[in-house]
Symmetry: C2
Subunit: 333 residues, 2 copies
């Protein structure tokens, strides 16, 4: 096989992305030069944050270029190697192009062991997703046993891990999710104490008050918008909000409006802080060690939504914005 | 003199308070019992946060009771004492009722020295105002030499001290204020590098970008609302916003709307945190020591707007919401 499919960014989406914003091209695979290796993609991660990189507004990561491949977390097999650090047949994870096969130099790749955990886990609970949950909760949330943790986007990849870490640390854990099926899953599989279905709940402020009789000490926020407004009415003195994402407003073309948070923060001596997982890269090693330990102790469980086939990547990405995933959304090749 | 004026809360204000919400009653002064002392008010502090205590919504401090005296920071002279801890002729500061004279037990009073600083300073730069500026900036803002600090409500009591502390620490300091006179005062008397008059500026976002060419690292926010929205567009990665007050929305009867802050905090790994000065009471001693030292070194200057006469207290309070004060607003008896 010497030709190869690539998914490129065709247009910068206005508002919600659509399939028209992507196109698939074929190209030759270049020869592997000294120091390089040829990778075959096995698992491709699609994540809400990629939406930001499709716009050219300044953000925490540079935007994707038009008519160039999109990149995300990928687990790949080494198909051929002229780089001493990697051998044929090994598996690696890293930020790679949406290509079936690609030749790279090997910078920034981490080897992963398929015997220690499923390969797809390195895109999730032992990868960026798990690290995002862990660093956000530990560094900003500063969780305390007995406190109440509420998680929005609880059935998402990060949210479900956050809730389980909270339970492992002895917190009261409440989730917010968008279907009865997700509610059931979070309670039965992931051990959440209470879960609120925001789509069928009329008064979220009251529902949160009921689910959190001692108020909210830590809020892990993946969504922003009206759900976060409702949480604000229930925060405790010295509470901490982790701003991990704001998926509910990512597709707004104008700066979205919400309730003013400032008066709540003043009244409650409360903290809100955003982050990106790379802010805490110096603590990744201890985090992965802790997450692996919990995984082996079966304190952490994870769910994946796996789509099959390279050409399904754009649709899998679009499905994120309709909440069609349970846990980490991954495309398997 | 055995009768005595008191200012009571007559109505809980709806929206902006008015003179009708207060009334003045006279009463006898009770006899001083063993352990008590009689105080004569000398300087009374009026502060925006008192507005919150006039509502009965839950807040960080309990609400004032209807038809009972309002309380705030007061410097008083000991007129008579049957308490060994205080002698006639000494001066004290504490939270006291809006009464010309009152009999108290002495709990929570701190003695002040009229030879070390003007008595009114103990309501301002060496009192709650100075401590609010100091603790907020140091504990939440974590200022670093060379960084850019922007202060809203810069000509207010807290704001003008915050800016001067920033300059003392080697920061680039930009203020936001509401009149050309205040702009001039902040530059010439308080050493602000740049000051923006928000009332005459059409595009605040651009004006802030111009005044802060390196972006905003620390934002000391006294106002909330649209001014804070404009600052958000200019925050740097890892910036810190101190939510000290939100005077622009205190009189709203409905939960006010502003731009969603969450996407900005996520993009910039940025922090916002509210506080009240008592959160850091364990650090008051070192703070007063540092503030006194800077005052003696003439690194801190302060402005007061002093009204005369007990019955002027309600009007002085109302004037705060029209920005009629420069620096700390105080009523002298």
């Amino acid at each position: 096989m010497s030709t190869n499919n690539t998914i490129n960014l065709k247009n910068r989406p206005k508002g919600r992305p659509s399939l028209d914003d992507f196109d698939i091209t074929t190209s030759e695979i270049p020869e592997v030069q000294e120091g390089e290796l040829l990778l075959g993609a096995k698992y491709v991660s699609v994540d809400p944050y990629l939406r930001g990189r499709m716009s050219d507004a300044p953000s925490y990561v540079p935007p994707f270029e038009l008519n160039k491949p999109i990149k995300s977390g990928v687990v790949a097999e080494v198909l051929e190697s002229k780089n001493d650090a990697f051998a044929k047949g090994e598996f690696v994870v890293g930020e790679l192009a949406w290509k079936e096969q690609q030749v790279v130099k090997g910078d920034g790749l981490m080897k992963v062991d398929p015997d220690q955990a499923a390969l797809s886990a390195y895109l999730g609970v032992l990868g960026m997703t798990g690290l995002t949950a862990y660093h956000g909760l530990m560094e900003i949330g500063r969780p305390v046993k007995g406190e109440t943790l509420i998680v929005s986007g609880a059935a998402g990849a990060v949210g479900s891990i956050v809730g389980q870490i909270g339970k492992t640390l002895g917190m009261q854990v409440v989730g917010i999710a968008g279907s009865d099926e997700k509610v059931e899953m979070l309670k039965s599989q992931f051990g959440f104490d209470e879960v609120i279905n925001y789509k069928t709940t009329e008064n979220m402020t009251e529902a949160i008050a009921e689910a959190c009789p001692n108020g909210v000490d830590v809020y892990f926020d993946n969504v922003g918008g009206e759900i976060s407004d409702a949480v604000l009415f229930n925060i405790n003195k010295f509470s901490r909000t982790i701003n991990c994402g704001a998926i509910s407003v990512y597709n707004n073309t104008e700066a979205p409006k919400s309730m003013s948070v400032q008066p709540f923060l003043v009244k409650k001596s409360s903290l809100m802080q955003g982050f990106i997982v790379t802010d805490y890269a110096d603590k990744n090693k201890e985090a992965i060690q802790q997450l692996s330990e919990w995984l082996q102790q079966e304190k952490l469980h994870y769910t994946e939504t796996i789509k099959e086939g390279f050409k399904q990547i754009p649709q899998a990405f679009l499905d994120l914005f309709e909440g069609k995933n349970k846990g980490k959304m991954i495309v398997k090749l």
